[in-house]
């Protein structure tokens, strides 16, 4: 018989598969009708889904609320932007971002993982604020204007090359990157390493007595989250052609947390659905009123009170039982 965690994870995979199929259909319709605006909006939703995914690694699997995940998202966007202005290569930008995220993630992780709970939230918030102010005041990075004039990037996949200004093409590239990031995360969290993380979240006093040192596990999860956030951020300048310092601001981190809570904490797939829901809501409500944040805020509170496992929590338990039932036969 399959155990519950693996069954729940399989249920998440099924929901991602549904998303991928829907995404491909959406891209086909979009390409056929030439609706660039909605394809771009969906691409942006997926990019922010990657950021939310990284928040869920920390919040859902480590029990740590990061209020500064924008630091790594912005890091990815700026590194990618700078590299793309020098060499317009998709792979060079992603590679440089990966290296930068590993280095900064390890340093940030050593600092932030000294503390737990509220203090972790405050330290991550503080680190992100410091870096955002530094970038905001650095002329070489465009200061308050951000990085502008990022060229169109050819994404060379070996058998086909997709230009980043092709709305449907780049949407599919983004979908692929986010699904890969999801797959890597889901895989790692379903290994013995992932189980130790869940154990640490549930009861960090007991874990050392089982023979595990907590810090290396927490640090690894933190670095993983940093890399996921940065690689998602690296796609941003390819989509928009510029990098705004606002990507580093608290609003970005806060939105990612709201996304995860709406989607479902500790489900991974919730980050993806949450981000799509939030982006759609913002865009739809935004056409009626400019005070769309009020609606988002009310929804957030409603989710916390009525849907503690988010929108994914409405579907996944049933799906999970189905998966277990099949395995039991």
């Amino acid at each position: 018989m399959r155990d519950r965690l693996t069954a729940a994870m399989t249920a998440s995979h099924l929901m991602v598969a549904v998303l991928v199929v829907a995404g491909i259909i959406f891209a086909a319709i979009g390409a056929a009708t030439g609706t660039v605006f909605y394809l771009r909006l969906a691409t942006e939703a997926l990019i922010f889904a990657g950021l939310a995914l990284s928040v869920d690694i920390l919040l859902g699997y480590n029990g740590l609320l990061s209020l500064g995940q924008a630091l790594y998202f912005g890091l990815g966007a700026y590194v990618s932007g700078v590299v793309l202005k020098l060499v317009p290569s998709f792979w060079a930008a992603m590679g440089a971002t990966l290296v930068a995220a590993l280095v900064v993630g390890i340093v940030g992780g050593i600092i932030a993982n000294r503390v737990r709970g509220v203090y972790f939230a405050l330290i991550t918030f503080g680190m992100a604020q410091v870096i955002s102010k530094v970038v905001y005041n650095t002329r070489a990075l465009g200061a308050s204007d951000g990085l502008i004039g990022i060229p169109i990037v050819p994404v060379d996949l070996g058998f086909i090359t997709i230009q980043s200004n092709s709305a449907a093409g780049f949407f599919l590239v983004t979908l692929a990157v986010i699904v890969i990031l999801y797959a890597v995360t889901a895989y790692l969290l379903d290994t013995p390493f992932g189980r130790v993380l869940i154990a640490l979240k549930a009861n960090d006093r007991r874990v050392p007595f089982l023979g595990y040192a907590p810090l290396p596990h927490r640090l690894a999860a933190y670095v993983l989250a940093a890399v996921i956030a940065a690689l998602s951020g690296a796609l941003y300048p390819m989509l928009r052609g510029f990098v705004s310092p606002e990507l580093l601001f608290f609003a970005t981190s806060g939105n990612a947390v709201i996304t995860v809570v709406l989607g479902g904490i500790g489900t991974l797939v919730g980050a993806l659905y949450g981000s799509i829901l939030l982006t759609v809501l913002k865009s739809v409500i935004g056409t009626w009123t400019e005070h769309h944040l009020i609606v988002i805020g009310v929804l957030f509170m409603a989710a916390v009170i009525f849907l503690p496992k988010g929108i994914v929590g409405l579907v996944r338990p049933a799906l999970s039982r189905l998966v277990r039932g099949e395995a039991g036969k």
Partner: protein, 249 residues
Amino acid sequence: MNAPILELKGLGVSFGGIRAVDDVSFTVDGTGVTTVIGPNGAGKSTLFNLISGTIRPRSGRVLVDGVERTRIRPHRLRAIGIGRSFQITNLFFELTVRENLRLACQPLETRSRSFLPVRLSKQTAERVEQLLARFSLEENAANLAGELSHGEQRRLEIAVALACGPRLLLLDEPTQGMSHGDTEVATELIRSVAADVAVLLIEHDIGLVMSISDRVIVMHQGRKLADGTPIQVREDPKVQAAYFGHAKP
């Protein structure tokens, strides 16, 4: 070469001027149940925390197999053969029963597997199943630990502490809050465990202490008051004074 598994030498610690544990020395070796008893605040749990490295002693030494382990970090205990349970049920409620045990057995596996899918060597998988059977938890193996009854959780707690094959098991009030029937089952289990490993136990229930222990250590106000067989200890006038408040010259 034949140093005892655990040897405490003059162990002491104070909290804000109060001597929680004061100059405690004893050794534990071989198999059987050694129970530490004493009124509330006698320093029993503090003693456990000192042995397992959760608290640093101010004076004295802890030797394991004759090797100095006074300031050991908790995650190293496992490797030197010490398992521990907690007074408050301390399980992973979000994990399944099997997963709780698997996690406890996992350090037996080689380190290089931690980023491969959850698979256990046949040997470890068998050990998990044995533990499930021994502690009558098979039916609940795929359920979350948080869904078990209190008695079942306490049993799982002991199973987890035992999972990695320790030679010394520290059990902090294993039957606390159990029903009468559950306590009897747990007593049987602890007796059967003690056939193979040394068990150091903290317990309040005097009836249980007398039936389960091979040796009893009485603590009072941080000090060791008496040490001997249950009968010797029961008849010790100092113990009677501490427990029943008889005036003593």
